[in-house]
């Protein structure tokens, strides 16, 4: 059964849903979106013996705004998630995240090696150098960012992989159009600014990185660069998948459960990266 709660952190309420019993799995959503992206994971992953924790980051979904307004530092989300998990009694937990959530996942693994037990970072790398902070800051003004709803809709359609049936892709795009553009853009500024390149060696937990072969938001060579710097990291490049594996892949929960089980399997020696090529 799913339980929802408003957890108070620094006088602000954060919305979180939990389901299941077992080792906690924290699920972190993408820029401008909410925990609704993990709705199927929330329902299905408990069957595999996990306690699933799906928060809405500050300013997203049903959570209060962050105290200082829209967040432009992923470190603020990282710290908030560590406190939220502690409030929920999840001292040690697995984490899975996508896009900014994937980068937050990498940051959590590097920052809290005593608490993060396994990590799955999807659609993320240590540093996204392809986007311009200046251009994103300009588009915080609505007048500089016309037809935002259309652009979110068509941009999401384009970011979904070719294997997703068109009607499903359109539904994902309509869901994403629910965003607040200022929050989404601030998230992307945070994503672009956040550079984890010199902190990857602090990652001690088993890590899996996942990239969609159709994802134009990231460059696979950058993801590979990141994966190679974490001993034992597995890397999957998924054919036909775009930027949102948890929304695109039909049996994503089973796939995720397989990844988590693999990460939980003790290894006697570090493994080289493994590949699922398109």
């Amino acid at each position: 059964m799913t339980e929802s709660a408003y957890v108070e952190i620094d006088g602000r309420l954060g919305f979180v849903e939990t389901a299941g019993e077992g080792h906690p799995v924290l699920c972190v959503h993408t820029a401008g979106q909410s925990g609704v992206q993990w709705r199927r994971t929330l329902r299905e992953l408990p069957r595999y013996g996990y306690r699933v924790i799906v928060p809405d980051l500050p300013g997203h979904g049903r959570s209060d705004e962050a105290a200082g307004g829209p967040v432009t530092d992923l470190g603020a989300y990282r710290d908030w998630l560590l406190r939220l998990a502690a409030e929920l009694g999840a001292d040690r937990f697995h984490v899975v995240g996508c896009s900014i959530g994937g980068k937050i996942t990498l940051d959590l693994a590097a920052s809290a090696p005593d608490r993060v037990t396994a990590a799955v970072a999807m659609a993320a790398d240590a540093r996204n150098a392809r986007w311009s902070v200046r251009s994103l800051e300009r588009s915080l003004d609505d007048v500089s960012s016309p037809s935002r709803a259309d652009r979110t809709y068509y941009g999401t359609l384009a970011a979904v992989g070719a294997a997703v049936p068109p009607e499903r892709a359109a539904e994902i795009a309509r869901m994403h159009r629910r965003e607040d553009p200022v929050i989404s853009t601030s998230d992307l500024i945070a994503w672009t600014r956040h550079d984890l390149r010199d902190r990857l060696d602090a990652i001690a937990c088993p890590l899996r990185m996942v990239a969609g072969a159709d994802d134009f938001w990231i460059d696979v060579p950058d993801v590979e660069w990141t994966a190679r710097r974490v001993p034992g990291c597995r890397l999957d490049v998924l054919p036909g998948v775009g930027h949102y594996p948890m929304e695109e892949i039909d049996d994503f929960t089973a796939v995720l459960a397989g990844w988590l089980a693999d990460l939980e399997t003790p290894r006697t020696s570090p493994c080289p990266p493994t590949w699922i090529e398109p």
């Binding site: 500089s144 960012s145 016309p146 037809s147 259309d150 652009r151 068509y154 941009g155 359609l157 384009a158 970011a159 070719a162 159709d214 134009f216 938001w217």
Partner: protein
């Protein structure tokens, strides 16, 4: 393979050549032939000091290999009249031991005014057998027509030309997304494919005219090279946005109007792809 005439080339058609290995003897021979005996091509120690695995094959030698492999393919030996131009970019060095092939995509076909021949432009990538792009570029040639005085070939794929825009206008006029996406627009949308460009004049959802120029000029222009156009025309889905994000297409002019007309541009690409599909 039998010789191909103008009518046999269609924008989007691809050819892959056989493989040729580059030898130290080839590089020596090209040094003598061209007179370019620079140390990077002739002195292994110098090449190593520059960080290369060996003396570099001359860039123009790679270009020459393209035409050698094309001859081996046997498709234009008796129909090619003249090589017209060459625009080339060198991406990665080639050294002795590398094996290369080309991937050629036809990007433009047009019957010349003389009628008995036409110009075919091609994008060519010279790639090593491990997938590295050594060099790439475009090169046009004049080729005999099988049917002198025949009709234009593949007008729905002669992108960003006046005749093409006239065909496109009918589809834009019938497209509901384009109409609603331009319902508050008064201006001209430019389309540029390589050196060709054309404008579509639109007022409140209606296409008024098309042509090389309009009195006010284009409000903005959607631009890509010829390869980008044929690749999107033949792609399994209309992923114009993804290709734009990756840099295959850009826009210049009033880019805020371009952003505002996002839906209309995606719809226009649906129409462009449908039109090109008629010539599939």
């Amino acid at each position: 393979m039998t010789a191909l005439y103008l009518e046999d080339f269609r924008p989007g058609t691809r050819f892959t050549s056989g493989v040729r290995e580059i030898t130290a003897g080839d590089i020596d021979a090209f040094t003598r032939l061209s007179g370019d005996a620079a140390a990077v091509h002739t002195d292994p120690a110098y090449a190593a000091a520059q960080g290369f695995a060996g003396p570099l094959a001359h860039g123009p030698y790679g270009v020459a290999i393209v035409f050698g492999l094309l001859h081996e393919l046997g498709i234009v030996d008796t129909t090619a009249i003249a090589l017209l131009d060459l625009n080339w970019r060198f991406r990665n060095p080639l050294v002795a031991g590398d094996a290369v092939r080309f991937e050629m995509t036809v990007t433009r076909c047009r019957r010349a005014s003389r009628g008995d021949a036409g110009v075919v432009n091609r994008h060519v990538r010279l790639v090593t057998t491990d997938g590295t792009v050594a060099s790439e570029g475009s090169t046009a040639f004049l080729v005999k027509a099988r049917d002198p005085g025949g009709p234009p070939t593949f007008p729905g794929r002669d992108f960003a030309t006046p005749a093409w825009a006239a065909l496109l206008a009918h589809r834009l006029a019938a497209n509901e997304e384009f109409r609603t996406g331009t319902a508050t627009f008064d201006g001209s949308i430019g389309f540029a494919a390589g050196p060709e460009s054309v404008q579509v004049r639109v007022y409140r959802g209606r296409v008024l005219e098309t042509g090389r120029w309009t009195p006010g000029g284009p409000t903005f222009t959607v631009s890509g090279d010829e390869l980008a156009w044929v690749e999107l025309a033949d792609a399994p889905r209309n992923d114009f946005i993804a290709r734009s994000m990756r840099g295959a297409f850009g826009a210049y002019g009033n880019t805020y109007e371009h952003l505002r007309l996002h839906k209309a541009i995606v719809a226009a690409w649906d129409c462009i792809r449908d039109l090109a599909g008629e010539d599939a």
